[in-house]
Symmetry: none
DNA sequence: CACAATCCTGAATATTTATGAAATCCTATC
DNA sequence: GATAGGATTTCATAAATATTCAGGATTGTG
């Protein structure tokens, strides 16, 4: 019983956001398993599940969430907060308004562009490490394009 | 106030197991910060901390038990949260899941590897500055090795 | 079978966390 | 300084979770 129930718990937790033990209880009932919240509290401890404060959902540790399409977010971010751009060999330096570098850098990271190996950012400057000099130019041109649009 | 307090929360949570918001409240009071539990509930959500059911301790997602030898910690961190690695000249760019770069960078720093001069990290990217191109390759290979194991 | 030891569970309850509403604190502007 | 608007915090309370205790099951042993 117990181990079957626990494997079902993992399955449920993986396929939809479960944010409370009561909710989990209902889902299990739907599958013909009826237990109390106390039991689920113990199951969750046994399974080592984790409750993320950001959305309150139970998760197996280490499994991350995928969000919506990051490209539009990036385009908006560029249009809104980019103030300057410059390529130096394989690096591209972006300037923003004070305090805006971090959000823009995150947008770039999440867009997972082919030219970009990664970014590091300070307060109003972002360093974009590109995969080569050619890629740095391509990236700069792409961004400049977005600024104009 | 808020951002200072939140950085203190991260610090406290990293250095000892905090299992309730009241406990966190006491620790903060010990550092001269006096707030209510309600505020901490919101801070914890803002910071995206996670409460592990296995021991009830709050953690930054992805960070594993900080203890003794830093190498095993690093290996585990690599296995768990590394998503990509790439060397560009003397630099190595590591990619992680969103928001996970910081903890992995800390693990690298603490391991004090011979090839590594230092690290800088953003949201999901870490820039590792190696002591030379040869060392960058060695470091990359070492990490890749760990990913496979 | 009888017994003990152990595991699992539910009920009741204690503890912990989240939240709505009001109060307070900041910051910018006149 | 006075004031508006927003952010942040507290207070009070609701909601969610953990735990204690006791009652079956189940298993192993003589």
């Amino acid at each position: 019983m117990k181990s079957y129930r626990q494997s079902l718990v993992l399955e449920l937790v993986d396929q939809e956001p479960i944010t409370s033990q009561e909710q989990l209880r209902e889902r299990l009932k739907g599958r013909g398993i009826d237990v109390t919240q106390a039991t689920l509290s113990r199951d969750i401890r046994d399974l080592g599940l984790v409750k993320r404060a950001s959305d309150g959902a139970y998760r197996r540790p280490g499994v991350e969430e995928a969000a919506g399409d990051p490209l539009p977010v990036l385009r908006r971010a560029v249009a809104e907060i980019l103030r300057g751009i410059e390529a130096v060999q394989t690096l591209v330096v972006l300037r923003t308004d004070p305090g805006q570098a971090q959000p823009l850098a995150i947008a770039i990271d999440r867009a997972r562009l082919a030219d970009v190996a990664g970014t590091i950012s300070g307060d109003d400057t972002i360093l974009v490490i590109c995969r080569g000099e050619r890629e740095a130019q391509t990236f700069r041109r792409q961004i400049e394009e977005w600024v104009r649009t």
